[in-house]
Symmetry: C2
Subunit: 239 residues, 2 copies
Amino acid sequence: MAKQERAEQTRRSLIRAAALTFDDVGYERSSLTRISEAAGVSKGALSFHFASKDELADAVQESAHLAARTVVDAVRRRPGPALQSVIDITHELAALLERDPVARAGARLARERPASTELPHHWNAAWAEAVRRLLRHARTDGSLIPGANVHTVAVLVAYLMSGLETTVRDHGVLAELVPPQGADDPPEPPRAWLSRIWELVLPEVAAVGHLPVLMAHGSRPCGDEDGALCPLGPRAAEP
Amino acid sequence: MAKQERAEQTRRSLIRAAALTFDDVGYERSSLTRISEAAGVSKGALSFHFASKDELADAVQESAHLAARTVVDAVRRRPGPALQSVIDITHELAALLERDPVARAGARLARERPASTELPHHWNAAWAEAVRRLLRHARTDGSLIPGANVHTVAVLVAYLMSGLETTVRDHGVLAELVPPQGADDPPEPPRAWLSRIWELVLPEVAAVGHLPVLMAHGSRPCGDEDGALCPLGPRAAEP
């Protein structure tokens, strides 16, 4: 393996180990020693790649931003009503947070490092502007109910994203408020909670003509030529 | 001033100084030195009252829980439809978080100290069980729309509370998604966002007969003898 390739591999495993650590114990309690051990790399090798914990956190946030951005851009390229794309972005980001510790770490660091708010690769920057544009578009493509307040829907999405980011890590509140029906039932995953909320609000938000076709559970391209959308199903939650 | 009274006063100012610090920089970055300086108390006096940062954090969480519990219990004692009480609890807790750094610190510590999840004075314990009972009651008192899924409303409340707790500290996402109409307008306070969301979902959640009387902006007792409810107004946001 070429030297440069090996260096790139070390860098990637450091970012992943750092993400696992940040996701687990947060920025302040993550030590460079723990991260280098988790990556199976010497502290010298770590400091060759990253001069400080701050730099490592930046790299994790950049990586998380890229992952979120990729998901968001893929949804934006899909055909279909703009309101469906807004729903799909929340589902795809929930699935990303469920499966990807780098994404979870990026979202957590965005909260714990206030100085990173201005960074172009801040977690929220990956979706906030896209959602804002899509909601404006949903007014012109007719998927939003006439007279709907775009601001209110934007606020709802912001609450959902913020709620998602904390509940995906700590199911505590939801488990207490919404105990599983049977004692042995597993707790509902965050994506199921999202579907419930979209189901609840869609009749107030979606234009009557669009209501029957919008999917509160999220959609994905069916894969056929005419670009139709199929129900998202459990796929998005899988790695 | 009696010695015991002075000790009690020192203890209270330590809890308040600790809350301001925890609210500002979080648990990990809060040092006992900074807290004792903020309280205007020697480190010796601090350690007389609290053996560790953990003990101090427990005391802050207990204080925050008591404040939230007081607010929740006052709402529960009010007459009126149970669904209105659920709405009012979210508004009163938002107002509490806006005005009271001890409450904000308690909510933040609940998130940052996973070990405190089992504590009886965990932030969520102050409202989660009450909301669950009220939602069950809203089904029997007829304020909930027949066939409404109590679980879904409970999930919504949990998302609202989790979103509130983070947005009350960092208006960033909401300011980006929902910019004020005029360039010089101040950003909307969290309570205004809450009202928007309740307005949006009430038609899907409230029984038709109750819809005209339920107040998405929150209510409070009018103060007359028959226990009627009046619009909450800005009062709740004031100290």
